[in-house]
Symmetry: C2
Subunit: 406 residues, 2 copies
């Protein structure tokens, strides 16, 4: 089954909004053994029609996102009806549902919303519990066209509750393609290829994939033979060991929360240069409140003293970005909170270049347990947001390694 | 000038990585009055060739990202050379630069990196200061092909330092298209259309665009007449006033940091349900350390007591998600830090449904100044990460409105 995704919306091409649909749909489809063969983004307007005409020639399943809203630039519904030769019909039941949505929020709907109750004849209506525009599923000559609204929180439940069950029935069993991804910290992609690829070529018929991020790489194998994938996993783990921090799309923060929950260890954070990113990542994981008890963001030296009792003399002597200070941050966070593990970060995020001794990119991380404290120095010269991400990744990895200790 | 962007990489279609290139390139191009007419994502392998053949027929400028790395799935360089009929030549100077890159990081390069020193004849080499693969710029028959590496921190400086200057020279003056975006909080897109669109149709020849997020909408006008855009701005501001929190791609956090810097007011945060996101957003803004002095993440009740001195009795009587507790959090954060403004959030992020009195989506926010405290209740039923974002947006907006007071 050939699959194409068309994302509509000038805002995607003008850079107002990041397209997260492709990745999300791609992950969902790959669980069914399907892959997106091509993705296109086109601006609102006539380009939508042209992209649909092309995709209808090549693909069996076409998923279109966006352009179902009430405003003048939303034309997907009209174009799809025209190309498939269907009349648009007004559906009072949909209008009633839209009115209910507004009523629950104490809003008087604009007259324009009525267009969202128009449905191409013969279409399956996908109900929208998080917004007003319903999705639509149209079939013709063995090809299927799925129209979904643009906002992620509207699209996702609709896809999961209505499109996926339909798709599973439609394709029958999985198409027999197996995929596995190992997420590796601390090795570059060419190093990973050198260690793994030649050796794995003898162990099965694999498609190799690499995806590189600062200090990290995801290594991907796709094959039709599930058995060879299992053997490959043993080999890869024997070669890379603890450098593999997760599999598939599991995040570092999810791994940390899972390990802490399993071992019943509570966590606190003390973040200077990451400014709250560490806490934010940990609390993105549902259920994190069982083990993450909280944190400090002592961004200024004043708050380092006031919140965590870091002596002014220590700050003056070594500077905030130093081993003694980051160690004191971690130890005091542990003591003040009563948690089992504390992690602290202090560094120079940039974009100002810093000093010769402490340039932008410098990072000190410390991990404190009831028994010991470990401190680590890193150099991560890059842009501000990448630096913050990499610093949080180093800190989370310290927690992961501690929690994985036998 | 017709512009197309091709993003290569199976990881984008399998959902391992979010494509941030399109938005970033789109913003950069629109500053020159150019627009992306179409964007495609194709998997590694032969699909790259097919996409390039199609784009070369339609577009004048084609930007390709990814596939320049050292591993076996990186074939963009070879395909581009073949399609444009150029031989690949080994460039020792590039290899020397790559070796220097590894040497500075104390890494022995893998033998595979050598392929990155191969250059199609006649290509302009775009030097890479943040990685190993140089970019390439090829011209033929009035069309230009720009090949860039996939990692954002490598692509961005290359684009800004080398491609943009070349492109500016190439297109001469701006193509005369003007764009303006108003970012609006607290109004839905159909409401914004009702208020603005009909009235604006009489004031100029505008292309209208709407981009909707939970509780927010971006309203966009594009026109060839800069004067009518100026008049439109006056009209829009007279209708929407303070609901416009920013323009263009400025973020709420950048607006807050800018206003606080201008008025020399220092900020602190006390975050329960947002878990550090508020601090993270504020510290993403370069220069934020001048006004953001830090924050607390009292995620558990225990830390609400220990960090911020919230009385156990108050927590027991009203619960952590309540007006008295969030007010105490804000006031105590102000007092303990000595800052000018403190903002506090406490809510139920989900995905667990919560209770009938305190369902998932409930949010209490408080803003404390030296003189007064303001508390606000919101209901934001959605997924966990959207909730956290919306909650942080509400909190930042309270800071913005306070900082904008005359």
């Amino acid at each position: 089954m050939k699959v194409e995704v068309i994302n509509t919306g000038s805002e995607l091409l003008l850079g107002q909004v990041t397209n997260t649909h492709v990745g999300w749909l791609g992950r969902s489809l790959s669980d069914l053994g399907l892959r997106i063969d091509r993705q296109m983004t086109v601006p609102d307007g006539p380009a939508i029609r042209q992209a649909l005409v092309e995709a209808l020639e090549r693909a069996d399943l076409i998923v279109v996102t966006g352009g179902l809203g009430p405003t003048s630039d939303d034309i997907t519904r009209d174009v799809a009806a025209e190309l498939l030769g269907r009349k648009l019909v007004y559906e009072p039941a949909i209008m009633a549902k839209i009115e209910g949505y507004f009523k629950r929020r104490n809003i008087v709907p604009a007259a324009l919303v009525k267009v969202q109750a128009m449905v191409p004849e013969g279409a399956l209506v996908l109900s929208n519990d998080f917004g007003t525009a319903p999705g639509l599923l149209l079939e013709r000559d063995g090809k299927a066209l799925v129209l979904l609204p643009g906002p992620p929180r509207e699209l996702k439940p609709m896809w999961e509750n209505e499109v996926l069950p339909w798709l599973k029935k439609r394709i029958g069993l999985s198409q027999g393609e197996h995929q596995r991804i190992w997420r590796i910290l601390g090795l570059g992609e060419s190093r990973v290829q050198e260690i793994l690829e030649e050796a794995l070529k003898g162990k099965g018929d694999f498609e190799f994939g690499y995806c590189s991020r600062p200090g990290e790489v995801d290594f991907r194998l796709i094959t039709a033979d599930a058995g060879s994938l299992k053997k490959a996993d043993l080999f890869i783990r024997s070669k890379l060991g603890d450098s593999i921090y997760a599999e598939g799309d599991e995040t570092m923060e999810a791994v940390v929360i899972r390990a802490a929950t399993k071992r019943k260890r509570t966590l606190v954070t003390a973040e200077s240069c990451t400014g709250g990113l560490l806490g934010n990542r940990l609390t993105n994981v549902p259920g994190s409140s069982r083990v993450f008890i909280g944190g400090w963001i002592p961004y200024s030296n004043k708050l380092k003293e006031r919140q965590l009792g870091i002596p002014g003399g220590l700050l003056k002597k070594h500077g905030a970005v130093s081993e003694p200070v980051v160690v004191a941050m971690a130890r005091n966070a542990l003591r003040l909170s009563g948690a089992d593990l504390a992690v602290a970060v202090s560094g120079v995020a940039g974009p100002e270049p810093g000093t010769k001794e402490k340039p932008a990119g410098l990072l000190w991380v410390a991990l404190a347990t009831r028994k010991s404290t470990l401190a680590l120095k890193k150099n991560l010269p890059t842009d501000r947001e990448t630096y913050k991400y990499s610093a949080s990744q180093v800190a989370l990895d310290l927690l992961r390694r501690e929690l994985n200790k036998k």
